[in-house]
Amino acid sequence: MRLYLTAFLLFLFGPIAVIVLFSFHSSPALIFPFQGFSLQWYGKLFANAAFRSSFWNSLQVGVATTIITTVLGSLTALALIRMGRRSKIVVEVLSLAPIGLPGLFLGVALLTLFARIGLPRSLVTITIGHVLFTLPFFVEAMRSRITYFDFTLEEAARDLGASPWQVFSRVTLPILAPTIMGGAMLTFALSFDEFIITIFVGGNDTTLPLFIWSLMRRSIEPTINAVSVITLLLSLAALALAGLMLLAQRRRTAIARTPLFED
């Protein structure tokens, strides 16, 4: 059992460790023995204008997608649990279906649509594509948690004097906040490394995955490791941010009151 677990963890984190290590390698060799540390690959990477613009593009698209998907997705999920059984099934299937569609299909379909309505390919079209792609994942992530939401909490709040809006802002939303944040992080991650749809609807704008792909086509350069590490750090930062926000929320309620008890 223990052996299995060790093997599993090695399999999972081994490659990551190797990549992180070699991103700091002082020589271009991608094999052991390790010959000392240097930041040259990071330097090289940031000197590359194509990297900088693609990274910036990915961030913009990622943030925009996350905001739009989170708002739309939360509303959809909240509406879904309040629906009658029959309409619920229909909407559920319809909103879930895109998960099963190949990205290729969605990409081609969107491309045709954008061409038809005369929308030029840009970061905007990429964002639209990403929202469509991430929305079902978001809704699904919310729905599985929201199914256990106790609606008597909303009734209790109403009973204690809260208007429907106050019920939402003071009870429903705060309780679902961790779930929504989890969904938002998932959305960002999905958008940040989305590839296929982006190729179709991207036009001349490059995102980070497209940039990496173009790097790979030429040769396997150690800068790839540096890119991967930066992406990894970004995901970790997003995770830490979400965690900190949750913690801060709890701390705030506690602190806001402590002085009151001392007087």
């Binding site: 106790d150 009734e155 209790a156 709040a157 109403r158 009973d159 309780i175 009151l260």
Partner: protein, 353 residues
């Protein structure tokens, strides 16, 4: 004049063809504890939810403190509810849960602190104010919910089977607590339960319901001592039901049963009508004399706490339960003994179907 605080006028609730409540007329007096009692599914929660404003009656009116409630949403009604499973907010701690109604009303901080502390004192949870609600026991959660429901000083507190989620052990304690809190706050309580013991201990008045209708209402003593129907007689505690025909002679009124005549008080019921006699186990006197209304053989003896109950099988095959007090001079008869059961005419209650 009676001070009626909450009034239901002809309240009916239907879902499609299903009638959940059928013409309920009920007046709750200021400051009393009124209990809705009845089997599960008889419409108690529905009536309560109509009072709170979560359901609208199909027909009929609800009046609270003289005001028509038809167009008043739940948050505007001066009625608070203690939910069956407490419904405490998981993202707030004990203090903030109790403070919730005052925060909604945007009360000044200092006032909130004082009033929450007063409530914490009332429900004896002072040390728990900064606990998260998953860090307290069921009994404590109950008291937090109670404090939260009372802090806004509602005119009526609605309690929907508040003890059903608690262990048997703390249930009795909680009943005493509810009585104390009722005394200290003077709030009108509308209490719902399916447990007649709870209702008997707590209530000023009991409303017995069945299948969406009110069957009978009265004080606990009246409900226990003067049931008006077979349903009411059976619902309130243990009883022996004997079917028979009313007969009258010059000096005596009795019910003729398969086990002989049972003398009853003359209540002007027409002779020859079929009636049910309800006799509580404690109303029977067991003797070994030959005379007595009902004769039979002791089949079983149960010791229930301070009471001893004999099961007596009569000649006609009917089983009666009769109570013997441990302290009484009469010793408990042995199993298999031939005994006679008798009871005072005043203790026989006649009910119709």
């Amino acid at each position: 004049m009676e001070d009626n605080f909450v009034e239901f006028h002809n309240v009916t609730k239907k879902w499609g063809d299903f009638v959940g409540l059928d013409g309920i007329n009920l007046k709750i007096r200021r400051g009393e504890i009124l209990t809705l009692l009845g089997p599960s599914g008889c419409g108690k929660s529905t009536l309560m939810r109509i009072a709170a404003g979560f359901e609208l009656p199909t027909t009929g009116d609800v009046i609270i403190d003289g005001r028509q409630m038809a167009d008043t949403p739940p948050e505007k009604r001066e009625v608070n509810m203690l939910f069956q499973r407490y419904a405490l907010f998981p993202h707030l701690d004990v203090f903030d849960n109790i403070a919730f109604p005052l925060r909604i009303q945007k009360r000044p901080k200092e006032e909130i602190r004082q009033r929450v502390e007063k409530m914490l004192e009332l429900v004896q949870l002072k040390e728990f104010s900064s606990r998260w609600i998953n860090e307290i026991s069921g009994g404590q959660a109950q008291r937090v919910a109670l404090a939260r429901a009372l802090i806004g000083q509602p005119k009526v507190l609605l309690l929907d089977e508040p003890l059903s989620a608690l262990d048997l052990k703390i249930r009795h304690h909680m009943l005493e607590e509810l009585k104390r809190i009722h005394r200290e706050t003077g709030t009108t309580f509308l209490y719902v339960t399916h447990d007649q013991d709870e209702a008997m201990i707590l209530s000023d008045r009991i409303v017995l319901m069945n299948a969406g209708q009110i069957v009978q209402m009265g004080t606990p003593d009246e409900m226990y001592g003067k049931p008006q129907s077979l349903f009411a007689a059976k619902f309130f505690g243990e009883t022996n039901i004997v079917e028979g025909k009313l007969v009258r002679s010059a000096d005596r009124c009795a019910v003729e049963t398969t086990d002989g005549l049972i003398t009853v008080e003359d209540k002007m019921i027409s002779e020859g009508s079929r009636v049910y006699a309800s006799i509580r186990p404690e109303a029977f006197v067991i003797s070994n004399h030959a005379e007595g209304n009902i004769r039979g053989i002791v089949e079983d003896i149960e010791n229930i706490g301070a009471r001893t109950v004999c099961r007596v099988r009569s000649g006609s095959g009917h089983a009666y339960r009769a109570q013997v007090f441990r302290t009484s001079a009469i010793s408990t008869p042995p199993i298999g003994a031939n005994v006679a059961l008798s009871c005072a005419p005043a203790d026989v209650v006649l009910v119709s179907q």
